[in-house]
Symmetry: C3
Subunit: 272 residues, 3 copies
């Protein structure tokens, strides 16, 4: 069932059982697998793949009151060349950049902005009003509370929780801020309003109760600084391993050269 107001581009594949609502735009070369529910006001850009039984433009709370989704104010945009695997649920009024990639059964709420080249793993939940930069890697089963702010090139490993309520229950939510290149180890929890500095490394299983400074390595419950990332050596070669951008390039914009070269070619002034 495709609503008559939906605009479907060239060379679009739509497998059986998919429902497409009103005011939907599906650009060229999009592939929509079995049984997707694309509600109203959704825009899927070209060359994207929508996995089986995904729900795009999921209802916001007011739908359940009046069963009316035709107010046309809540649109979901998914960027070009995105790969959304099976059974994702992405709400309306959210804008996602190009080359977005998800695992299975991801939930993304309304009023969230996601940059380009972001990956989100299976079962992760991104609550409403989050801001996520470019080239952010969010692994499996991460819970990102509302009002979280994630800068570019951040890595968040499995089962991490970002909280937001200092005195629960309350109406005064304070999101976590994670600065660029920081790494949040598996199964860590970050308390409300905490800032994680640029290039910082939070060890697995940490409970972060205080701000973490730039380049700090913190571990434990409560997490304490044990060293600088500059002091960490590879267990076999003995060479420095951080900042990681000097050693790792897969999926990064400097994949074809190295960070230094790529960065200097950007034409930015030093220190920027």
């Amino acid at each position: 069932m495709i609503h008559p107001t939906a605009k479907i581009g060239q060379n679009v594949t739509i497998k059986e059982g998919t429902v497409i609502g009103g005011n939907v735009t599906i650009e060229d070369n999009v592939y929509i697998d079995y049984g997707c529910i694309i509600r109203d006001n959704v825009h899927v850009k070209k060359d994207s793949f929508i996995g089986a039984r995904s729900v795009l433009g999921e209802y916001l709370i007011d739908f359940y009151r009046d069963k009316n989704n035709n107010k046309c104010k809540y649109s979901l945009v998914i960027g070009e060349q995105s790969l959304i695997r099976t059974e994702n649920i992405i709400y309306g009024n959210t804008v996602i950049g190009d080359e977005f990639q998800t695992g299975h059964k991801v939930t993304i709420r309304e009023n969230t902005n996601i940059g380009n080249n972001v990956k989100i793993g299976t079962l992760s939940i991104i609550q409403h009003e989050c801001n996520i930069g470019h080239y952010v890697n969010i692994h499996s089963n991460v819970f990102m509370g509302e009002k979280s702010e994630i800068n570019d090139y951040v890595w968040i490993f499995p089962h991490v929780v970002l909280t937001n309520d200092l005195t629960p229950p309350s109406n005064e939510l304070m999101g976590v801020y994670i600065d660029s290149f920081a790494l949040i180890g598996a199964k860590s929890v970050i308390l409300p309003g905490i800032t994680i500095g640029k290039d910082a490394l939070v060890g697995a299983g940490s409970v972060v109760t205080k701000d973490v400074s730039e380049e700090a390595v913190v571990v434990g419950n409560p997490a304490k600084k044990i060293r600088s990332i500059r002091e960490m050596k590879h267990h076999l070669t003995g060479k420095p391993i951080y900042p990681w951008r000097d050693h790792f390039k897969r999926g990064m914009p400097w994949a074809d050269s190295d960070y230094e070269t790529w960065f200097s070619n950007l034409g930015l002034k030093e220190g920027e």
Copy 2:
């Protein structure tokens, strides 16, 4: 496909792809979204919403032996004005009160009782033989082991785990008991058979290995008491913040006045 023995009320919406089994009652004004599987012996009360692809009355283990679900002894009841979002799985032989609300992909097992005005977040799992009171808020991705007992007005935040086996693996399960108004911080784990006292606050990331007394604040691994909730002050105003019922009313039965007024109007004797 609707089984001939199903009773469907007035003004019921049933979207495409939904299957309804035998001995099912759907009361008036219920909305059932795309592709739900309502197995046998399910009763959905009036004015409720059943999200797309939810499974109600999921098979218990004996179905898989004989492929026969017609024994009519396992019924699932869902109360009035409930809002069940997409892809919930709720087993048979469970009774849920009115104004129940869930996120996505929640699993609720058999032989569980849930009171009125309970909310359960996306991905949470409620195992079998749990008892959950009224106005309980269970956030995302909580695992509640079987035989857990949760009193009224409890809050359980994301990624909390309630365990039940003191000497695993065993057949002697001892559920956690959480008394009314208690708050369990994100990513905490509570050991088997533990009691969390009324109004207690378990900090995020705690590992609770001993009973927690009324009004105690505990944190750490293992969790230790650091103060009373009465000593906690708001980080800006410096005023007391707990017990939370004196400061927070959204969604609570005292939403239109305050806890004191509401409580005194109940006509209960002091101290009750």
Copy 3:
């Protein structure tokens, strides 16, 4: 829709909405519930149950490049008498033994081998290139990182995370190894490359940063050895409780006698 090259055995039930691809073999007495997607090159052995909306033979990454799944090199095999509940996603090129049992919404990636009589709970994620032995019990919402190796008779409780990247992000993954009969308590995280010894017990909420020796009990963050499993007594009877194989038999191959008798009847030489 059933592809003409699919081979369907005797007494197979296929409920509405199921799609079956090319080069699929469904053996006798298999029951496939509503809305399953069985992609190409899948082999389901006899007497198995496939829960509603499960996806078997999920696409590997190269499908998304060319939309061609007909290379016939990735097959998924599911053993006899398996019980796969609703909404599992199991990738191609994975081999699973007999009497496999899962909860709901489990994800199992490619290039993984799973033995006989394994159980995996709701929401758990098994990444690619894992090896899992026989009679392994993996509870709900476990994250098993790629290259994990799990020996026979291991128990992994809810919300456990097995990591694999010592210096993230990197391309040098080192999986966790868990030896036979070990128990990993709820909400623990095991660091990359760690070995958990035979019969060891990791307490709930532990962060395991060092190898754990045979029969050791470790707890805390970081986890430290507090005693041997031989010193643990039942809280009521005061009798030893570990090794658990001497006291627990449900679902085990020694269910009809006891471990000693069963083991001696195997005809193995002592010490094996």
